[in-house]
Amino acid sequence: MTEVIINSGLQLVLLLLVAPLLSGMIKTLKARLQNRRGPGVLQSYRDIFKLLRKGMVIPETASWIFSAAPYMVFGTATLVGLMIPMTTTHAPLSLFGGVLAVVYLLALGRFFLALGGLDTGSSFGGLGSSREMTISAIAEPAMMLAIFTVALGANSTNLSEMAKIAVTQSWRFLAPSQMLAFAALFIVLIAETGRIPVDNPATHLELTMIHEAMILEYSGPYLALIEWGASIKQLVLMTLLVNTFFPFGLSSDWTVQTVGVGLAFYLAKLFLLACLIVLVETSNAKLRLFRVPELLMVAFILGALALISTFLF
């Protein structure tokens, strides 16, 4: 029992601290690649602390949903973060649900965020919410198919079990089904975190914005919670991607040494994935909104093919 508590505590601290760092790092890398100086790596922390100290303006038309949404977004993202293995094969909260709980807790957070966008009755909020739901309606099945492909190999939807199996066969990612599933999940990651071919995270001045349109009415601590929650969600999805497909260095026991090695490997893998995201964001233009479903349809078909090919190849 104490082990579970220590494990949860460690992972919680890691989750809360690494998530803004990762967002900041992606911003900095992107700026460097585009020949700008860009903000420092720690800028995301500063933003969050600044917002937490500010007062906030709540629209007169807003109901309790407006205030509940930031807590739901932050809470679900953190809870999901405790359910996936980060540095060890054993996730602290692998008690219930497995991968289905992960997908639907994330969906719950998104649902409340969309409600929060609608709640104030501003036209931009409604626009953003409707777009977010359109995209997630296709991204979610694609994500499920890709994850089921991995779950089939492990004979379990429990993420800890999947990680344990994965560690024993590290080179499995060369199988076609795994590569297809990875490609599908990568597209879903881009869509879910609002990165460039789908949404532009750097601006809220565009008519095509999605995430920013929903949170336009939020300010102060609520905005800080939402932004922090969004970066945790990004970290969670990236962790899911690197640890299910490239399980190198995941430690399976509890000595200081293996946990340290696991942490180092984990951070290195996250860094590489961040570099990949930065490359994709820099080398692509934002898609027209009506073309986004096409991209996600490709992800869906890739996921379906991955699932089919586990049976055949």
Partner: protein, 228 residues
């Protein structure tokens, strides 16, 4: 001791490349630009040539090397070059206009892939085949899927040039089916098919150019005007 290639490894490499070929085919269905479709076809043909070379290496069938080389030279080098020149001469930079919209096309392509797998399942008897034949056997499903999607691409498109691309990817499917079923056809047959396709594309290229000159468009549905 002579080096004995491990057939398990060969199987893995072939499966991986076949999966890539399939992904490229589906990407081609989702593609709008005509030049990028041609490039996708070129990469796909190159991978096919590579698959043929791997089969040749693991089965010690040296005549397949020739087929592989010819595939790479003709289908990944010469044909795309010809088609790109044709595109330049006609001066089209416009997007491909499919009859069915792109998301639905991609879904249909996925469905056809599934169909390919179902059909190929009935051919699969691992207990009866020798180790040699088993190599690349599981690519039959991919080959049938390529074939079906190539057909679909031809039906789905209006412009003559893009239909030619559909025909070419259909032929890629045939090639893959041939090497996966027979682990190496006689060289004469391979050569015959290859040059057949080459001549077909040349003739079709000239035809496309003429259609364009006569009708000011490559839209084959306008050919109905031939009825007087």
């Amino acid at each position: 001791m002579p080096f004995v290639p491990n057939p398990e490894l060969g199987n893995r490499i072939i499966t991986l490349m076949a999966a890539l070929v399939l992904v490229l085919q589906i990407a081609a269905v989702g593609q709008r630009g005509i030049v990028s479709s041609i490039r996708i076809f070129a990469v796909q043909s190159f991978l096919l040539g590579a698959i043929a070379a791997v089969i040749a290496y693991f089965n010690h069938a040296s005549h397949i090397y020739i087929a592989a080389l010819l595939t790479v030279f003709l289908k990944a080098g010469l044909l795309p070059r010809l088609l790109e020149r044709l595109v330049e001469r006609i001066g089209i930079r416009r997007e491909i206009e499919p009859l069915i919209n792109v998301p639905l096309s991609i879904l249909i392509a996925g469905g056809l892939t599934l169909l390919g797998y179902v059909v190929a399942e009935s051919f699969y008897h691992p207990e009866q085949t020798s180790a040699q034949a088993a190599l690349g056997h599981n690519t039959l499903a991919v080959a049938i899927a390529l074939f079906l999607i190539g057909f679909f691409a031809m039906v789905n498109r209006r412009k003559a040039l893009t239909q030619v691309l559909g025909l070419l990817s259909l032929e890629n499917g045939l090639f893959l089916a041939a090497i996966s079923l027979t682990y190496g056809m006689p060289l004469v047959v391979e050569l015959g098919i290859l040059f057949d396709v080459l001549v077909a594309v040349m003739v079709l290229g000239i035809l496309v150019f003429r259609i364009r000159e006569t009708f000011d468009s490559m839209d084959v549905s306008k050919l109905r005007k031939l009825r007087e």
